[in-house]
């Protein structure tokens, strides 16, 4: 472990200083303390990124600063000082005047951190009211901050309800709420994790601008070293409640000391994969596929063109990544290929045979050959079914003798890296990464020739992501199936794909070998996506090395 105070060459007295903070984790947690004796300080106007994966205790620190720790997480040692004064004990009433006024906080899911049944303007004005700002002054101030975060038409936004805003607009509105009372410190807890890359880039730029204009100190909690590279002055890395490394951003990024830090940085810039086998004949191909969702009743009929003239092909043993932002139609495309949607026009062929019109028994038979792994490993498994039975279910339905199917399921459980004895256990006894391994085993139980992975690693921590991506690649080498990997994350696409398809507004805008697309993107949108990816510099350094 390196010296936590290493980077503390800040000339001014710290705005926030945390000294030896320890928070207990009672009950049956995996460790006795959520946060163990961590110390760091933030100078006025400085951005400190607190980096770690889920469960590292990084969010606990953010909550502790605002006195919002629940009773279940008592502070057992250390102290937090803000502007020279010691903070009141957790949940103390005195925090009422500190929150928003001196320290503001924003959260990961901006849409969810706004009350869905009240207008943006009403919610912002409420903060001013709570802190004693007289009524006539509220509305002008609300409109002023909405303008300050570059929201178009502040009057209209003030009248809007949260569901009427896009993800990026909601995050801007939440940041506006944080700025209302001109605080000195902003705590941002993964504020861009739920956003698309281009929106994320805008929000990061906004926070960087506000930091300068308002001399705002920022405690930025994140798991993503790409984001760190974009905005951090200093970095503190946490692992399992312990501060393992801290220092100036450039130092940590260029010469990480701790193996955990190195692992997190490597996740931003994965080694491109060595090409899969070259199969020449496509195993799955599609031509001019169109999918239109129709909804509504009587006066309000709507049609949404979700997939527009999409053509693609995948050869055995190859991996094609479909990259796009939310709403680009990439998951709808997956549903078409899986024959979960009836396409409106076009054709889909499996080994040269048209499958878009199959029904009944032939369709059921086809389902064996094209399997799927979904994003959320928590909801993708039936909580009342043992994992052995979940994996054996498919083969049994497709006619395998139950004893053989269970035998096979047991082998698959070991193959995906779980212990052979775990077959009788239920999904909730496993971690997210382990559950995704179970989902992969379940998909492979039918010996598919095409595996469609829909954001299959997006819900996982970065270090787990790397393991699951390795597992995909390893199993592919062994069994030779083709993979269609749908992702919004360019780093993931880079790590796994031979070929890349870029989707925007239901259409494929760029298509090519992965190294070509990353090195020389042809379409302006691909260029914009790559430019928006946080930590582009890291990217470049990695490719040069």
């Amino acid at each position: 472990m390196s010296e936590p105070h290493r980077g503390e060459s800040a000339p001014r007295a710290p705005l926030l200083s945390i000294e030896d903070l320890t928070v207990a984790l009672p009950g049956d947690g995996d460790r006795p303390e959520a946060v163990s004796g961590i110390s760091f300080a933030i100078a006025p106007g400085e951005t400190l990124c607190l980096v770690g994966e889920s469960g590292s205790g990084k969010s606990v620190v953010g909550q502790a600063v605002l006195g919002m720790l629940p009773h279940a997480l008592p502070v057992t040692g250390g102290c937090i000082r803000f502007a020279g004064a010691e903070m009141p004990p957790q949940r103390d009433r005195a925090f009422g005047t500190i929150r928003s006024a001196q320290i503001a906080m924003i959260f990961q899911d901006a849409g969810a951190s706004l009350n869905p049944v009240r207008t943006i303007g009403g919610q912002l004005a409420e903060i001013l009211a709570v802190h004693g700002i007289p009524k006539p002054d509220r509305r002008p101030r609300v409109l002023e901050v909405l303008r300050d975060v570059a929201l178009p038409e502040p009057e209209r936004i003030a009248r809007s309800y949260p569901h009427q805003l896009s993800g990026g607009q909601a995050q801007r509105a939440v940041i506006a709420a944080a700025l209302l009372l001109k605080p000195d410190l902003l705590i941002a807890d993964e504020p861009t994790t739920a956003l698309d890359v281009t929106t994320q880039a805008e929000i990061l730029a906004l926070i960087a601008r506000l930091k300068v204009e308002h001399e705002l100190a920022v405690l930025f909690v994140t798991h993503d070293f790409g984001v760190v590279a974009e905005i951090a002055d200093r970095v503190a890395v946490m692992q399992e409640g312990v501060l393992v490394e801290a220092g100036m951003a450039e130092d940590v990024l260029q010469a990480p000391q701790h193996p955990y830090t190195r692992k997190l940085i490597a996740a931003v810039n994965p080694t491109p994969r060595t090409l899969g086998q070259h199969g020449d004949t496509p195993i799955l191909d599609a031509t001019d596929v169109n999918l239109i969702y129709r909804s509504g009743f009587l006066g309000n009929r709507k049609a949404l063109h979700a997939v527009k003239d999409v053509s693609l092909e995948i050869a055995a043993g190859r991996t094609v990544a479909v990259v796009g932002e939310s709403g680009s139609g990439k998951s709808s495309l997956a549903r078409c290929l899986l024959r979960l949607e009836e396409i409106d026009s076009g054709s889909i062929r499996f080994k040269g045979q048209e499958i878009s019109t199959l029904t009944g028994a032939p369709l059921r038979q086809l389902r064996q050959s094209i399997q799927v792994v979904l994003q959320d490993p928590f909801s993708a498994l039936n909580p009342r079914q043992t994992i052995l039975s979940a994996i054996a279910e498919g083969p049994i339905i497709h006619g395998m003798a139950p004893a053989d199917a269970r035998q096979k399921a047991a082998e698959l459980i070991e193959l995906v890296g779980l212990s052979a004895q775990s077959g009788g256990r239920y999904p909730q006894e496993f971690s997210g990464g382990q559950r995704q391994r179970i989902c992969i085993a379940r998909a492979l139980a039918l010996e598919p020739e095409v595996l469609i992975a829909d954001e299959a690693v997006s819900a996982l921590d970065v270090s787990i992501q790397a393991q699951i991506l390795d597992l995909f690649a390893d199993l592919q080498r062994r069994f030779g199936f083709a993979i269609l990997f749908i992702t919004h994350d360019l780093a993931v696409a880079r790590a796994i794909a031979d070929d890349i398809l870029v989707m925007k507004s239901a259409e494929i805008v760029e298509h090519g070998p992965a190294d070509r697309v990353f090195a020389a993107p042809a379409h302006p949108y691909t260029q914009a996506l790559l430019a928006a990816a946080p930590g582009l510099d890291l990217f470049r350094r990695g490719s040069a090395a």
Binding site: S113, L114, P116, E126, Y161, N300
Partner: protein, 302 residues
């Protein structure tokens, strides 16, 4: 939004039409109404005479059209026994039932919802467990039993009679509202629990909004959305429950009228009462749908 309102109104109208048709058919399926009117040993000519007088000799579709046409003109028929227009008898009973039903609903809302909210806020405490225990009891207790026990205890211990039209409405209302009270409490608890743990509640806390204000201005409007549905649906249970409760307490309301009309095979009266109950339910649902427009901006946008 216009599309939303239009589709709900149309749906309500359609539901009413289907109900009217079903009521018409079922009553005719339940046996020859003319035969039911006359003494068991009446000769066939007498039955036929009754049938002719009531239009029962016409083809079914003609009877149906005549029936629906009559309904549209406010002609609901006459009681076979008293000869009084069915709606008149009904209107005479209605104030009693409204008095009972509204009191029962008010008890359920003003006791059930606060104790449910309290249980959610004090989650895991003895108070929470008590409220949950009470709500299971309230929900599971059949109201005829609860009413009878209450009458019995009052009579034996206090020499008081809780029934009859001059009795205090509170006793039958408590009996009738008990089950709704239990389900409101339970539902409020889970709805409030869901909202007080919502991200926007934490965000409001981080913005310095005090606890009481978070509860009233942020949690309550959101927790109310599913409760409105529940209250609308529970009107049906209240109407059904009033049949039994009015009987037990000798309360001269519509429920008692319905029981009496069924027992005496007063077809026109039964037919009318069933339609009124159905109409109440359809209107309650329509009102709930319209209330959504007011309390949930996400629906207003559609």
């Amino acid at each position: 939004m216009t599309g939303y309102i239009l589709s709900r109104v149309l749906r309500a109208a359609l539901t009413m039409l289907v109900t009217v048709t079903l009521v018409f058919l079922f009553i005719r399926l339940s046996g020859d109404p003319a035969a039911a009117l006359v003494p068991p040993d009446a000769p066939q000519e007498v039955i036929d005479q009754y049938a002719r007088a009531m239009g029962l000799d016409q083809p079914l579709w003609q009877q149906y059209l005549g029936y629906v046409g009559g309904l549209l003109q406010g002609n609901f028929g006459f009681s076979i026994h008293t000869g009084i227009a069915v709606e008149e008898t009904f209107l005479g009973r209605l104030p009693f039932t409204l008095h009972l039903g509204i009191t029962a609903l008010a008890l359920a809302i003003f006791i059930g919802i606060p104790i449910g909210a309290l249980a959610a806020i004090r989650r895991g405490t003895a108070l929470d467990r008590f409220v949950m225990g009470f709500s299971v009891f309230a929900f599971a207790m059949p109201n005829f039993l609860f009413g009878l026990v209450m009458i019995l205890v009052a009579a034996l211990a206090f020499s008081a009679f809780l029934g009859g039209e001059n009795a205090n409405v509170i006793w039958p209302a408590l009996t009738l509202g008990l089950a709704a009270m239990g389900s409101f409490a339970r539902f409020t608890r889970s709805s409030v629990l869901e909202t007080i743990n919502a991200p926007y509640m934490r965000a409001a806390e981080a913005r310095g909004v005090p606890f009481g204000m978070r509860l009233l201005r942020h949690a309550a409007p959101n927790a109310a959305i599913p409760l409105v549905t529940l209250i609308g649906l529970s009107l049906g249970a209240l109407v059904a429950g009033s049949v039994v409760t009015e009987q037990v307490f000798a309360w001269p309301g519509v429920g008692q009228l319905l029981v009496r009309s069924v027992a005496t095979r007063d077809l026109a009266q039964v037919q009318f009462l069933v339609l009124v109950v159905a109409f109440t339910m359809v209107m309650a649902n329509l009102i709930v749908d319209m209330l959504y427009l007011v309390i949930d901006p996400r629906i207003r946008a559609k």
